[in-house]
C-alpha cells in the first residue's frame, strides 16, 4: 500500500481486517458502502500477496503459509463464500483467485487446505449451492472454485456422496446457458476426474443415478442438455473402469430403445452421439434376450438405416470401421436356441 510506504499489513492484520469488513457487510447496516469498499481493498491486498503484482515483489513462502493458516483459524474461507453474493463484481473474482491459490498450496506431499476443507465440508456444500436461482451472479465464480476442488480426490468424494450432488441434475438444465453449461462442466469433472472413485459411486448409486436422474437428462427439452449428457454417457460407458456399470446399462431394454430413438433425432450431432452408445449394445457378446429380441425385430431396418447413416463422414475412418462392424454383427444376429 503506497500510503504505508514499504511497510505492508501482515497476513494476520489483513485477514482480521477483511473479516471485520465481511461481518459488517453481512450485517447490512448504515455502513454497508464503507464495508463494501473495505472488502474490495482487502481482497486486492490479499490477492497481491499471493500472486504478486507488477509493483511488488513475488510472495515469500512463509507469507503464504502465514496467510493460509490465518484463513483457517478465522474461518474466513467459509465466510467469503457465504457472502459471495454481497461482494462486488471484481471482488467475487478475487475471492475465487485467492481460494484456488490457497487450495493448490502443498507442503511436501500434503495439501493443507484440502485437509482443512475436509474438516469443513460446509464449504463445499455452500459452493455447490452457488448454482441456485437465488443468486445467479455467483454461479460462475462458485463453479471456478468447485472445479478446482474437484481436482482433489478427497474433496470430490465428499461432493459425489452428498445429497447436494443430485441437485446438479436440475442445475444443468436451467435456461440461462452460461450457468447451465458451467454446472455441466463441474458435473462432468466430478464424474470423470477420479476414475476409481467414480466407478464405485456409479455402481453403488446405479438406480438413482441412471434410472431416476440421467434418463431425464437424455429426454430433456433443452437441446444442449440432451446433447451433452448423451456425449458424457458415451464416455462413461466406454471408460474401462466403468465396466460393471456398462454391463448393467446395456442389459436394460429401455436404454436400448432410447438410443435407437435418438439415432433418429432431427439433430445430426445427437444422432452421432447416440451411435457411440448404441454400438456398445450391439457389440455386447452376452446380450440378454430382451435386447436381442429388439435387435432381431429390427434387423433389416437397422442394416438399411446404418448403411445410410452419416455417409458424409467419409474422412472419419474409425467411425466407418465401427459402422461396418455393427452392420456385420446385426446381419449375423440369430435367435437364442429354445431351452
Amino acid at each position: 500500500m503506497p500510503l504505508f510506504g514499504k511497510s505492508q499489513k501482515s497476513p494476520v492484520e489483513l485477514v482480521k481486517s477483511l473479516k471485520e469488513a465481511i461481518n459488517a457487510l453481512e450485517a447490512g447496516d448504515r455502513k454497508v458502502e464503507k464495508a463494501q469498499e473495505d472488502v474490495s481493498k482487502n481482497l486486492v491486498s490479499i490477492k497481491n500477496m499471493l500472486y504478486g503484482s507488477s509493483d511488488a515483489e513475488p510472495p515469500a513462502d512463509y507469507v503464504v503459509a502465514q496467510l493460509s493458516q490465518e484463513l483457517y483459524n478465522s474461518n474466513l474461507l467459509l465466510l467469503l463464500i457465504q457472502n459471495l453474493h454481497r461482494i462486488d463484481f471484481e471482488g467475487k473474482k478475487h475471492v475465487a483467485l485467492i481460494f484456488n491459490n490457497v487450495l493448490r498450496r502443498q507442503i511436501g506431499t500434503r495439501s493443507p487446505t484440502v485437509e482443512y476443507i475436509c474438516t469443513k465440508p460446509e464449504i463445499l456444500f455452500t459452493l455447490m449451492a452457488g448454482y441456485e436461482d437465488a443468486h445467479p451472479e455467483i454461479a460462475l465464480n462458485s463453479g471456478t472454485m468447485l472445479r478446482e476442488c474437484a481436482r482433489y480426490e478427497a474433496l470430490a468424494k465428499i461432493m459425489l456422496h452428498s445429497d447436494e450432488f443430485f441437485k446438479f441434475f436440475r442445475y444443468v438444465e436451467v435456461s440461462t446457458f452460461d450457468i447451465a453449461s458451467d454446472a455441466f462442466s463441474t458435473f462432468k469433472e466430478l464424474l470423470t476426474r477420479h476414475k476409481l472413485l467414480c466407478a464405485e459411486f456409479l455402481d453403488a448409486n446405479y438406480d438413482k443415478f441412471f434410472s431416476q436422474h440421467y434418463q431425464r437428462l437424455l429426454n430433456s427439452e433443452n437441446y444442449v442438455t440432451r446433447r451433452q449428457s448423451l456425449k458424457l454417457l458415451g464416455e462413461l460407458l466406454l471408460d474401462r473402469h466403468n465396466f460393471t456399470v456398462m454391463t448393467r446399462y446395456i442389459s436394460e431394454p429401455e436404454n436400448l430403445k432410447l438410443m435407437m430413438n435418438m439415432l433418429k433425432e432431427k439433430s445430426r450431432n445427437i444422432q452421432f452421439e447416440a451411435f457411440h452408445v448404441f454400438k456398445v449394445f450391439v457389440a455386447n457378446p452376452n446380450k440378454p434376450k430382451p435386447i436381442l429380441d429388439i435387435l432381431l425385430r429390427n434387423q433389416t431396418k437397422l442394416v438399411d438405416f446404418l448403411t445410410n447413416f452419416h455417409t458424409d463422414r467419409s474422412e472419419d475412418e474409425q467411425f466407418n470401421d465401427e459402422k461396418a462392424y455393427l452392420i456385420k454383427q446385426i446381419k449375423e444376429l440369430k435367435p437364442l436356441p429354445e431351452a
Binding site: G234, L238, R313, E315, D316
Partner: protein
Amino acid sequence: MSWTEKVDPELIFTKQERIGKGSFGEVFKGIDNRTQQVVAIKIIDLEEAEDEIDDIQQEIMVLSQCDSPYVTKYYGSFLKGTKLWIIMEYLGGGSALDLMKAGSFEEMHIGIILREVLKGLDYLHSERKLHRDIKAANVLLSEQGDVKLADFGVAGQLTNTTSKRNTFVGTPFWMAPEVIKQSQYDAKADIWSLGITAIELAKGEPPNSELHPMRVLFLIPKNNPPQLTGSYTKSFKDFVEACLNKDPENRPTAKELLKYPFIKKAKKNAYLIDLIDRFKKWKVSKGDESETESENSDSDSDAKQGGSSQDEPWIMTVKGLHINSAPRAGVNSFQLQEHELTMQKLMQTTHSPAGGGGVQASPAANALSSSVSAVAASASSVSVITANEGVSSASALPPQNSHVHNHNHNNINNNNIRNLSNKHATTTMLNAAPPPSSVTSSSSASELQQKRSSSKPELRQSRSAAPLDQVEDRRASLGLPLQSSVPTPSTAEQQQQRRSSQRESFHANNAALVASCSSSSNNHSHEEHVATNHASHVKHSGAGQRLVQTNSACLNNFLFPVLSDIQRKYSGGGSAGSGGSGGRNIGVGSDIGDLKSVFELAERSSPGVSDLFMKELIHMLVPGYSETRINTIMDRAIRNRK
C-alpha cells in the same frame, strides 16, 4: 444479470436488423422489451456450429467475467431450440474496419483508438486472459466515440499453472511469429497483433494483404518484421516498431505501451465522433447495405429430414420379457473371443475421428484430384504451377487446426474474388507459390484425437468446393509442387497421331499402350482383386463387343467427373470472351474431350489401367504411403465423387 428466469428470448427481445457476423454466428441489433435498452444479439445455431459446445461456452465464460469500459459488456445468454442467443452491449458507431471504408484515418485518430485498445488489453492481461484475434474488425466504437474490444471467439484463459497456451488460432495476417512457428501464445502475441492493427489503421490493410494467407504464414516468421513506412511521425513509427519486435521477450506489455509518447499525447475519445459521422454520411450516399436487411424468420430444419428409414418407427414390443444373462450356447469359443476383443477395442476407442491417419488421408485424396486436373491442364497447354525453389521441407509450418482451416477457406474465397476483378488476376494466381505442407506432430495428432469436430469443417468445405478451388486449397496446404506423371511431349505426340487418322499409326499407338501396361503390371505383383474382376468380366463379354462401356469405377466415378468439371469450366468462359479468346477456350475444352477419349481407350484396351495410373499418381505424391494406404485413398476418392 437481470435475466435469470426460464425465458423464451424471442419474448424478451425484439430482433432487428443484422449488423454483422462474429466468429461464431450472426449479430443483430435488438431491443430488450422490458427496459427498451438497445442490445446486440449474437445468434449461434449450435447444431451448425463447427466448434464443440464446450468451446462456445469458453467464449461466454470469458465474456461473463469481464467488467471493463474497454471491453464489450456481456448481459446473458439463452437457449431456444438449437439456437443460442448471446446478449451483448450494442455499440452503434461500428467497427474500426467499417469506419475505414469511408476514408483513411489521420494519425491523431489512430492514436486514440490504439490507446483505448491498449487499455482493454491491459485489463484482459491483468486478468490473465488473452484476446488472440486483435484486428480492426474486432474494435468497436460507440456513438460517443468510446472504443471497446469485441469478439472473443478465440479467446482463452490462461490457468495459473500454464502461462503459455499451445494453440494455433487467429487470423494469419495478424498472427505473431512465435504463434506460427511454435503455436506458443501468451499476452505478447496480442501485442504483435496490435502492431499489425496499427499498420492496418494507417494503411487500410495489414501488411502482405495482397498475398495468399498460407504464404503469409510462411513469410511472417522468416522475414524482418513489418514497418510503418510513409509520412508518419517518429513516435508513431517507434510505437509500431516496439510492438512488432520478433522476440516476444523484447516486446513491451500493454501497460508499458500506454506510457509511450505516441499514446500519451493522444486526444480524447470525442474526436472519434468525426469518423463516425463521416461513416454515417458515407453509408447514406452508398445506399442501403445488404448487411442491414432484416431476416423474417429462421429456416425450419424439419424440411431437411425425410426418407422412409427415418419415419418408420422401430419395433419395440418384446414377448416374454425375462432377463437371461447366460451366454448363448450356440456361440463357440472362437467367436466369443472375437467378440471380447472387439468389446475391448470399442471400450478403448474415443469418440474422436481417426485422428492423424484419417486427417492425413484427406490431403492425399485431394492432391489426387489436383494432380488429375494438372494433367488435364498440361494436355491443354496450360502451364503447370510450381512451388518456389527456395522453399524447403525444413521450413515446414506448424500443424493447423479447424480454426485455421476455416479462416483460410474464407480468405481464399476473398482472394479469389479480389483476383477475379483484377486485370492481373491470372498472373497473380500463377505467381502465387504455395508454402511447404504442414507437419503433424504427435501432440497435434493427440489434439485431433480429442477434438472430434476437427474433421467437420474439412468435410463441409470439401463438399461444397469446386474442383479448381480444391486444387488451390490443397496445393496451398500441401505445399508440394505438382508433377505431371504423363510427360507432355508424349501426350502431344499421341494426340497428333490420333488426329492424323492414319491406320498404321493408330495400331502402333495401341500396341505401345499395351506394352506399357504390361510393363506396369509386372511391377505390381499383387494386383487388386477388383481389377482382376474387371478384367475377367471384359474377357467374358467376348471380342465382338468392343464398344461396351468400361466397368472401371475409377474411370467412371473419378476421372471422368473431374475432367468433365474442368471441361465445363473452360467451355463456360468461351461465350464471354472475344473472338480470339473464345477460340482458345473452345480449343481447351476440345482438348479435354480428347483426353477423356484417351483414358477411355486405354481402359478398354487394357482393363485396370486407370487404377494403375491413379495408384502411380498417389505414389508419386506421397512416396511414403504403403500400398494398402494407397488403395484406401483411392477408394475414398472414388466414393467421394459419387
